[in-house]
């Protein structure tokens, strides 16, 4: 029995459906969640192959030690020796703690199913190489890198059962939570429009935001732009900022230093707009446009609007 942990505090993400799809290829799947999402929504996990969903509504998820205890108890009561996570902010935090409490080897950021020897591929060296990981313990934990395999709808909604676990007192007290309205969170965005120093100043970001809005994309930036304060730090993608793997990454006025590429080289399709034909980013791009961002970006925006209208 494979247990999949689903964080449902923001609804169920595409990455969660991917994790269930992945787990189903390993065996029978029970999905485990916490929080207040309705049973109708949780039942959708059955569509991707979960045989049932267990939910502990008393665990709010702010204290990840508590979530870890909940998962460990669910794994033991179901006799699961494999737990699958999505390698998102929650998986990155909870899976390592669970690894210790279950004495289960952790494969973090998996991009493949186990091969015939049980080895699983992960990205290493910030996407510059792929490593094969073998787990030597009898139990294992796999956190699946989002966007590594497409979710497959194969069945119908499944039953949802209440689950009650003993998680102890919360050590973490939440003071405030800030979620910017209307913005698409960068790590989950399927499309990202990003800009760099080539834009010459923060006052010129309007066209980037317009293009992002037309595409339903998140906005991002290069490190120098975040460092000089043109854009907030949480928009910085690259080796020391956020690493992203959207379907479409549009880079405007970014030269493509190796540290920037390390954060975006998992993108499926990369479009680069730059005035400098020698910009190293063109080597990593699928489509390149040599031109002035101030001409190209509004024109691209118009072309997409025209396409969407047609």
């Amino acid at each position: 029995m494979i247990l999949v942990y689903i964080n449902s505090t923001n609804g169920i993400s595409k990455a969660s459906f991917e994790a269930v799809t992945y787990a189903r290829k390993l065996g029978d799947v029970i999905a485990l969640s916490n929080g207040t999402l309705s049973s109708e929504e949780l039942a959708q996990l059955g569509t991707y192959g979960a045989s049932k969903v267990m939910v502990d509504r008393s665990v709010n998820g702010d204290d990840q030690q508590q979530v870890t205890r909940m998962i460990a108890q669910a794994a033991s009561s179901n006799g699961s020796n494999t737990v699958v996570f999505s390698h998102d902010l929650y998986g990155k935090s909870i899976a390592p703690m669970l690894s210790v409490s279950m004495q289960a080897g952790l494969v973090s950021g998996a991009i493949s199913l186990p091969d015939s020897e049980g080895c699983i591929d992960v990205n290493v060296f910030s996407g510059k190489a792929i490593g094969k990981v073998k787990v030597s313990s009898s139990s294992k934990i796999i956190s699946l890198l989002p966007n590594s395999l497409p979710p497959e709808e194969i069945a119908s909604p499944c039953p949802v059962e209440e689950f009650s676990s003993q998680v102890g007192d919360a050590a973490i007290k939440v003071i405030s939570t800030k979620k910017p309205e209307g913005e698409i969170p960068l790590p989950e965005a399927e499309r990202v429009v990003s800009a760099g120093r080539g834009l010459k100043g923060p006052e010129n970001w309007g066209m980037v935001e317009d293009l992002a809005k037309t595409l339903g994309a998140a906005t991002a930036c290069s490190r120098p732009v975040a460092d000089i304060g043109w854009r907030p730090h949480h928009e910085h993608v690259g080796q020391t900022g956020v690493a992203i793997r959207p379907d479409l990454y549009i880079a405007i006025g970014i030269s493509g230093a190796i540290q920037h590429l390390a954060g975006v080289n998992g993108s499926k399709v990369i479009v680069v707009v730059n005035t400098d034909p020698e910009a190293p980013f063109f080597k990593a791009a699928d489509y390149g446009v040599i031109g002035d961002a101030f001409d190209v970006v509004p024109r691209l925006n118009e072309a997409i609007q025209k396409f969407k209208a047609s």
């Binding site: 787990v135 030597s136 939440v174 990593a284 390149g288 190209v296």
Partner: protein, 246 residues
């Protein structure tokens, strides 16, 4: 406040990535090693700022061979008070975290900081494992950290936003961008680092849980297709029909 900062050795970000011994080992030949940037820029520098504001003692710890002493001296030059090296090959994240946990249990700390991940293995594993091994609260992806007595106020990234939380020390916190700014060691720091204690400790008897058996390089990307800047309709058509992303 006694602070432990976990640091790891990582290849410089511009290093050529290659493998040896039948693609089973990272080729260190000609590679310049640095302190993993998340450990140095965010965890270590914030620890030093906390020490400067509140008094305290900053110990850095790494798991590795004598070849790691150069990056340890660099961290000492930036301002850490002393260093500990657990003298063994860091076999996997679990092994590494349990070695650090064994040391931390013997030498109680009020605060343990790690970087959010290393730039070579990108696993984000050691911080959470260390917290679990010590049965301490774990706060991941912290972007701000303030201390008042034994109370820690932490701003952390959550999906779709940021959250401010409070937790009582001792706790383990993984640090991301926003915590602090990079510091360049000065000559006085470099000189002082030579005299600071570097304690080499034997490894605890622990078994790893995972192993990297081999490495491959990702396939070459196909050549870039250049589009006329006057013809954005063509780009949109290609993104739709060829790339299938819009």
């Amino acid at each position: 406040m006694k602070i432990l900062v976990c640091i790891s050795k990582a290849p410089d970000t511009t290093s050529k990535i290659a493998f040896t011994e039948g693609n089973s080992k990272f080729d260190e030949n000609g590679v310049q090693f640095i302190v993993n940037p998340y450990d140095e820029w965010y965890a270590l520098v914030r620890a030093l700022e906390l020490k400067e504001n509140n008094e305290g003692h900053v110990t850095i710890i790494t798991v590795g061979s004598a070849g790691d002493d150069a990056i340890i001296r660099k961290a000492l030059a930036i301002g850490a008070d002393e260093a500990v090296r657990i003298d063994t090959d860091p076999k996997d994240a679990y092994y590494t975290a349990m070695q650090i946990a064994a040391y931390a249990k013997e030498n109680s700390f009020d605060l343990i900081l790690t970087g959010k991940e290393t730039i070579n293995y990108n696993g984000s594993q050691v911080g959470g494992m260390l917290a679990a091994g010590l049965d301490l609260p774990f706060v991941s992806l912290a972007t701000k950290l303030d201390v008042s007595g034994t109370s820690l106020t932490v701003e952390r990234e959550i999906v779709g936003g940021v959250q401010v939380i409070e937790v009582e020390a001792p706790a383990v916190i993984s640090c991301a961008k926003g915590m602090a700014e990079q510091r360049i060691p000065n000559m006085r720091g470099i000189m002082a680092a030579r005299k600071k204690p570097l304690n080499v400790m034997p490894a605890a008897d622990i078994k790893g849980l995972t192993e990297f058996v081999s490495y491959t390089m990702p396939g070459e990307k196909s050549a870039v297709k250049m589009i006329d800047p006057e013809n954005m309709d063509e780009l949109v058509a290609l993104l739709h029909s060829e790339a299938k992303v819009i």
